[in-house]
């Protein structure tokens, strides 16, 4: 089981801020494909991966990052703090 978090407009497009998922995805890319296949909402939220940032266990990673031993994945737009 993996915990998935969504922030900012990714969260708003999906209507949820987190979910638990049983997945066989080997990396983030496969996880996104799996999410996209679930529901139209996910297709929309993940339409343009250039404006999606990814954290695995609270570290920024890229789309090829392997999910082995990862317990928390987060998807969000580029940061705008400060």
């Amino acid at each position: 089981m993996i915990k998935i978090l969504y922030f900012s407009w990714v969260r708003e497009k999906l209507g949820i801020s987190e979910e638990l998922l049983k997945t066989k995805a080997n990396n983030i890319k496969e996880l996104i494909d799996e999410l996209r296949s679930k529901d139209e909402k996910y297709k929309l939220a993940f339409a343009d991966l250039d404006i999606i940032r990814i954290a695995a266990d609270q570290k920024l990673v890229d789309i090829e990052y392997p999910l082995k031993n990862v317990s928390e994945v987060a998807f969000f737009p580029p940061m705008t703090g400060g």
Partner: protein
Amino acid sequence: MKVILQREVFDPGQIINKFQCDLKNVGAVVNFTGIVRNNKELNLKKLHIEHYPEMTRHSLAEVQLSSKKRWNLQDSLIIHRFGDLEINEPIMMVMTAAKHRHEAFNAAEFLMDYLKSRAPFWKKEFTNDGSEWVLSTEDDENSLSRW
């Protein structure tokens, strides 16, 4: 070294004095304060900041540690607010203390560049017409590469 994440407004002068009071034999203190300013249309009602608390804490503590080593800082402090903010209220503050000014300036700028592009905060502007997420700028995305 400290990272403070809070909803409440803070008093920059009070925090700066407290920070400086605790220093020992430091020659240079640099402070950056980010303030909520109006949008281009001048109709901002409030600014909302969402964040990813656990990741913020981890990543800021880590970057503080690496900046401490790199610029030989005696101390640094990062405060960042979340939730609802009004125009002219402080959003965040970075403070650095070192022997010499170039070290303190460089470390403060580095921490700011990091905060802008790598710390998980997102701003949403509320106006009379509705609300909109602030877009990141090319400049903020690229600033970190100079370090």
